[in-house]
Amino acid sequence: MGRVGIVGVGHSKFGKRNDASLRELAFEAYGAALDDADMDSSNIDSSVICSATHYDKQRSPAGVVAEYLGLNPQPTFNVEAACASSAVGLRTAWALVSSRLHDVMTVVGVQKMTELSSEEIQELMGRAGDVMWESPFGTTMPAYYAMYATAHMARFGTTEEQMALVPVKNRKYGSKNPNAMFQKPITAEEVLKSRPVASPLKLFDCCANADGAACLIIANAEKARKLTDRPVWVAGLGLASSPMSLAGRKGPMTSFEVTKNAAMSAYQMARVSPNDIDVAEVHDSFSITEILNYEDLRFAKPGGGTRLLEKGETELGGKIPVNIDGGLISKGHPVGATGASQLFALTKQLRGEAGSTQVDGAKIGLAQNIGGIGMYSAVTILKA
């Protein structure tokens, strides 16, 4: 099994993009990735289009996206794993390149969400849980994560003030990211005073629906070295699943087993430990999620996530800077694009191209991407 390298990355502006359709967003990221890799479409053997297709007006969007990107007649297909779609897309493409079925592939994460009416969005949100046993009681995405927050607060004494440190940190870095939906810092007081969504989570504890795309171009080792003198290597891929129903999960609901399992696979495959990670992107769909992720990825002990935040260890200059591109909380969360957006940020860091948020000498990066209400979690480790 040969190594697989990332040779090009691209990112559209995220946010309420009422100026662009799904295919056009995809092209913004794909075109930028081609420019970044200094290549054209003739080099691409196959494409994987990653989106949570229930948000799209277009059915089977890989068809129209591949056409618009000029990627016919090469193979194309859609990969869906809710919010983890493009991390799973990379895993899929990695396997196709490792097997030598293809040499160079593109992974395009794209989502158009703001075109739906808020009524449509709310209806979709209501079916994010198990539709037979949980959605009939009025579940929402924030409600599920809020239940983890309640349990974490009861067990470890975590407070809403501590949780507010996550959006404060991430929005600070979001202000330095021109692709982010929100580029204005926020105060803890603003977070704590924002309106309740699902207790204890308030509006500014939550990421926002957005439109956007992010793209990766990957190649086998031989091609990667020919195409670029600065490949970033895919060193570890972890993916796990968990029961979709909350009632089907075990334990005290203060951690995600699914992330612990995915992390174990990724650390093993990359032969690294949590201490080796120089920079990380974790799934901050909600403030509490980032805190649980620190613990599940073993950056902190169970219950120790808030301490890491308070000591500034996940800030730029800290022991392990996390989400210093702003995270989902600043960038917005165009579901299918988020995983690729995290890998875009890591690739820039590992090449030393992250500008004002560059982590000095970053060699190993980790991205963690949760799907839906925690039924999937992907952990990807990249090395310079």
Partner: protein
């Protein structure tokens, strides 16, 4: 009316575990049990994971439970907006099963915390819909 009668607003109408509704009608909450190996399932399922060829039978649960976690929902999907805000809980029943259910408005919210003893009881909605909640 099929299984969409289950819940405050049901999405799924066709299933093999429709008999649950007859138990709820009688004020009972029921699980399914494999006739061969005795493995019991709640929420009920129609096939045993271990003995796929065997039949299942229904058993009534006592509903005693303890709260694991909860939330109060302020921003709800369209069908649930008239009842907003409302409480949702996850509880562990005395026989080890976990259940996701609304918390009845009769429960004093200030008393609500993980570990609180609650009972799973049958509830009836205004559209003749049936469900269970923690009270």
């Amino acid at each position: 009316m099929g299984f969409e009668k289950f819940g405050r607003f049901g999405y799924v109408s066709q299933t093999k575990i429709n008999p649950l509704l007859s138990y709820l009608e009688k004020g009972q909450i029921a699980a399914t049990r494999c006739k061969k190996c005795g493995r019991t399932y709640f929420p009920p399922r129609a096939e045993c994971l271990d003995d796929r060829q065997s039949a299942i039978e229904w058993v009534v649960l006592d509903g005693k439970g303890s709260l694991i976690t909860f939330t109060k929902v302020f921003f709800a999907p369209p069908a649930f907006q008239p009842e907003t805000p409302y409480l949702l809980g996850l509880a562990e029943l005395s026989n080890g099963f976990r259940v996701f259910a609304p918390v009845s408005p009769s429960v004093d919210e200030k008393q609500l915390k993980p570990g609180k003893e609650l009972n799973l009881k049958v509830a009836r909605g205004s559209r003749d819909n049936l469900f269970y909640w923690l009270e």
